[in-house]
Symmetry: C2
Subunit: 201 residues, 2 copies
Amino acid sequence: MTGSATPDARSERDLETAQRRERMVDAAVELAATGGYESVQMRDVAARAEVALGTLYRHFPSKDHLLLAALTEQASALRDRMAQRPPEGADAAARMADVLRRATRALARRPDLTAALVTALTSPEADTAPHKHEIETVLRAIITTAIDGADVADPDGVVRTLGYVWLAVLSAWVGGTLDTDQMADDLTIAAHLLGKSASIA
Amino acid sequence: MTGSATPDARSERDLETAQRRERMVDAAVELAATGGYESVQMRDVAARAEVALGTLYRHFPSKDHLLLAALTEQASALRDRMAQRPPEGADAAARMADVLRRATRALARRPDLTAALVTALTSPEADTAPHKHEIETVLRAIITTAIDGADVADPDGVVRTLGYVWLAVLSAWVGGTLDTDQMADDLTIAAHLLGKSASIA
DNA sequence: GCCGAAGCAGGAACGCGTTCTACCCCGCTA
DNA sequence: TAGCGGGGTAGAACGCGTTCCTGCTTCGGC
């Protein structure tokens, strides 16, 4: 009775590594929430997740990969939360502004966490490109909910453009060149300009 | 004959430090042009400029400050070069697209240098905010030349928004999520959407 | 039962941005 | 004339991301 040969010994091991991985991401989020990007130190993440530093690097080849994994989770959660309540507004422009305002308010509620994750998103490491694409897709999906159904010309162009603005504004906010109100204002302006354009063409 | 007490001994010293400073920025640009951000190593910059590491840090409190100083020069030069020839195009949208296409083509001609400078621009260090503002002002001035004279509603909003898109697209290009053609395409789309919007309102 | 592979722990080592120490040279002022 | 402060040189030292090494345990195949 070599108990180790149970039918799902493999899945049990997989479960443990999945739990380890989750602990690492959670530890990164907790550290990021108190102090931002520079508070996420790989030795601390490993210690808090109770794994060795080498294990952390086995799962995430860099600090930015780790934070992007966290951001992927956060962005998906944000998208799902946003989907709970449909955007309000008479036209596409107003609805886009509403969606961005709500999403940004949610992000601004945990400034250090958001700053850390956005920092990772705008870091130039080329080998994180696929992860960034995935995240941008999620963010664009959030915007898309605002024009779904409305008859706009080139909805994809509008969504892409507004997505860029969102990223740049978040980046400026993280960098300290924009405060929360200016961020909201600039997003509203952009949403209205693009919405106006699209609904007319 | 204590010749050192010449009338302009002070200005002579100032000249030397100005020359030193210029050597440091030039060294940074040269290193950035071959290998990008990570090739700009502070010890190498100091060695190439023939100053001590401490001197480099006396003038520029961080690597990003140094690169932003370089970017300020480059951006001003780009603006002046762009001003030589007025943008072509029938309406504001076409002229904005033209200006961005030309500017981006110029930047793409020295990809490693541009990547290094844009990396510094999007780095989150809060104490570089004033320099970033200055640079954004220059970039916005480049866009402004395209709508100067045209009657657009909210020209400032259009310029700010398009400036954000430009930054985000450059950042994505540096990060490897966009190639040069996609960058040009997305800028053209954004310029037309925003130009259309503005000329109608 | 034995072996090689894979995953992990623990921790040293390396690279580069940044800081600190010690010293020098010069023009200024008491 | 002595001392002081600013800016410079040379180089060690520190912090943190990243890599590497050594040893241990478990598992699937022989």
